[in-house]
Symmetry: D2
Subunit: 293 residues, 4 copies
């Protein structure tokens, strides 16, 4: 028999750092985001707008996705934008709106932090802090996230190998925070028909190498609205522990990523389809949390 041409880490696990490695801790880590558990047999859905744009936009979207069965609300207050001239987010005002709708709906909130100086403040408003793709190797930020002790959603860099990704997670764990969720969100390849190439094979690879939960972001992973439903279904079929998706009450008017956001109706319809796939792979979509926070 020939030798396997693939990276030895998949088969041998030798380069996987110790705290994230499944060899060190064989059992799945369950991350608890204010009562919503990610990493168990139930599949969790995070939904909401790319950016918080206004009270109306956020609240209408949040109420609707909750009704459709989303478990956690997403929404950016600080937005990493390629151009300095694009909308950069509402800042702390956006965080306050997230906090308000969080109380009303009972949905925990995840939002991105980009600056070491903001970690403490963001952690006061959010139930989980997100470190985005562009900051996956922002080591001072990873250290702060490790110190802050809120659950961390660490997105894979669009250029990061699996090994580098696990090393980045190790930064958070090695600073004392084991509540880390990984998220495949598309890698950069030569293909230009999608915004990124959603690497669903990363899900089984990560699940094998680490005990941390793994979710998928089909919105950034494809960059195209009509591709979100099929890729979301595939993500559940491949074994993801959850999904994070952009939903907007009026995608055509979105200030950010409108072309990849689902409408409220599309999201509602997709949730029905996802329940069937979850069942087909022996899991289920977690029933929505009904008690207020």
């Amino acid at each position: 028999m020939e030798t396997n041409p693939c990276n030895k880490s998949v088969n041998g696990g030798s380069t996987i750092p110790s705290r994230v490695s499944r060899k060190t801790k064989p059992t799945d880590t369950i991350v608890n985001i204010n009562g919503v558990k990610v990493g168990g047999s139930e599949i969790v859905v995070i939904a909401g707008p790319c950016a918080v744009e206004s009270r109306e936009q956020l609240f209408e979207t949040a109420r609707s996705v909750r009704k459709s069965g989303a478990h956690i609300l997403r929404g950016g207050a600080f937005k990493p934008r390629s151009s300095p001239y694009s909308f950069q987010g509402m800042g702390e005002e956006g965080l306050k709106l997230l906090y308000e709708i969080r109380k009303e709906t009972g949905m925990p909130v995840v939002t991105e932090v980009m600056d070491t100086r903001q970690v403490e403040m963001v952690a006061q408003y959010a139930d989980m802090i997100q470190i985005g793709s562009r900051n996956m190797q922002n080591y001072p930020l990873l250290k702060e996230a490790g110190i802050c002790r809120k659950p961390v959603l660490l997105k894979r860099g669009m250029m990061a190998t699996i090994d580098e990704y696990l090393m980045a997670a190790e930064y958070v764990l090695s600073h004392g925070n084991e509540q880390v969720i990984l998220c495949e969100r598309g890698i950069r390849t030569f293909e230009t028909s999608t915004r990124n190439t959603l690497d669903l094979s990363a899900v089984p690879v990560l699940k094998r190498l680490t005990h941390l939960p793994v979710i998928v972001d089909p919105s950034h992973g494809t960059g195209v609205r009509w591709m979100v439903p099929p890729m979301a279904k595939a993500a559940v079929a491949v074994g993801a522990d959850g999904l994070i998706m952009e939903v907007h009450y009026n995608p055509e008017s979105a200030l950010c990523d409108g072309y990849q956001s689902l409408s409220l109706e599309e999201f509602d319809s997709l949730m029905c389809d996802l329940r069937k796939i979850a069942q087909a792979v022996g899991r289920e979509i977690l029933a929505p949390k009904t008690t207020a926070i």
Copy 2:
């Protein structure tokens, strides 16, 4: 709203050549491989060894995958190998073995052709000819495939954009043969934890741009045996019209690609799982063909 950063062909279809374009022919093309129809609501499974190695290896594998529900038998007689010193396939003797087991089991056969001088001969033994990834832009070979009139399984080159892939299919159609099946089989990226990166987003993109059936090869797409089942399930969930997978009666002893071949038991178990996913997306795995050829 911002402009979509993705390639215009996904949204506008302007660069898609005419014969393969869904704009020219909005209805799905059904490719008929000696009675097995690919491209309709039923999902088709192609299985068998990477290479034909011996009568025993081929026949035992073929009988078993048929029993498990495979519809079409795969097996290479001419193998494109990176090294000139690797096993290059049994050649015409392998084709004769394929023809023999084809009669016994009633399963149509697909096998690869690499040389323009062999197209006619291979077409005499096989029900469908395969043009492999490395030959996706071998234009003389595409022309011969267009002339031969047997169904053609055209695999995506591991470096080919969607646009180039459709152009390659157009070569076959423009020479008179519309019986073409497309196959995503992994693209080359920076990631080394898998042999290739299986680009499942190519399935919805292709289905939108062209009327041709689209199947997925999770064996080459991952290069790792244990990753084939999750990726096969994801492929069905994402909307593929079929799967092609490597199965070997003794993967450890395979002369070619053993590390990515399923055992007979693994394949049988996977077929059960795939039926559930197919149902969850409103399709079904085609019942095995029982009449002899």
Copy 3:
């Protein structure tokens, strides 16, 4: 000290096949194309149109590049085109024109072959046969090139690793032909501001691993006319044994690759600049061959 993250073949050479390996043959191979020697201390320039389009176009271009100091004439008679509807080359008529101007100018001719059935015929007209990027892993064609015994210009596939490239060359050598020239011509990456990414680091890597001569194609490597001169200069500085460039007597009217072809004046001016760089790295541009073939 840390371990080197790079591929072991660069440092250890263990996966390099034997016939192309510098370990097997430490001295540089000199390829002799009808009197023009490639691989020694002198740098060789191959120039001419992408495709042979007409007697006038070929002859005017050939006479001019010869006057400017080119040593070998390039020109395609069979063109591998992404679209079946693009100009496919003049075929044998183009070969005859090449043969005619070859006699007049005394410049040896290199032209591409795509089909195993054409190798013998093309070899009758040309002094060196070219196997293009898309056919780098067309193994039957490599075998025919190995049998034919004319010098072979084997271009790197645009997504071929160095190891795969050397394996492809090994196919030619293992069939009896050691007169092989390698050519870096750009690889496919995520970057879209150039047609391909010309990987000049491949030159020192290849020179270290193999005894075969290595040249560079800055025309396909960049796809943009104004980038050809700086990249050609860099190629000489980095240690290439030669260059192959597209030159057209009227780039604006070219049927193929006009936007990357140099005009006659641009080529003439570039040759002067290249002589200075060659001298700065202790080599020289070979003086043009003056005797007729």
Copy 4:
């Protein structure tokens, strides 16, 4: 004539943000690092160890590279390391050592900053601050660099397109700092024989699109010591305004990147070779600054 398949920005420049665009400011920007001017006709060389490891290591290396003709000293005090368990740099103690040798040798110093909270402090010790590849899209850091008014060396992200790179530079300029130097340092591709693929074509592309100086880092760009000299020569030939290279007085014992660091002797020898190439392209290597800072 066919349409050019390449990105319109190279030819039309339409997506290039205004402050960095050569359309807005056609003349070359000269960045002045405490008397050393980058972006004019003279080529500038930045050299020094990857990381400051000790007084002896830094001082011996600095004195030697200065004697060989380097103009600016590099040395990391805060190191972005993939693993949390690797040497992370000496921190402020390292900055103090840099400041001390800076006074002794008269060489301006460049060092990396990773955290918004450290920009002010680092700027007190260094003549130019570096923003590394992993932080190219760390927007809060770019803004701080824009505010701080020290010259900024902004390295290209290893998977950043040219357009994204210019957008990142625009962040610095739009916050008031026009003293920005760009640096190509290798991109991530499928090729594994080098640590990265040094994209020398980025140099002419950037020089055409922006007025900012462009230098090249062949150390990180290749990751292999013996490849630094040929790639450095090619960088000068292609039109770079300068080079930044890792040099260590004892590469075998380096705590960081030793396998890509030149020895003192190798650097000295390379400087001689570079002078010849610079002359061949009509430029010269700037004579070392002799007055103390």
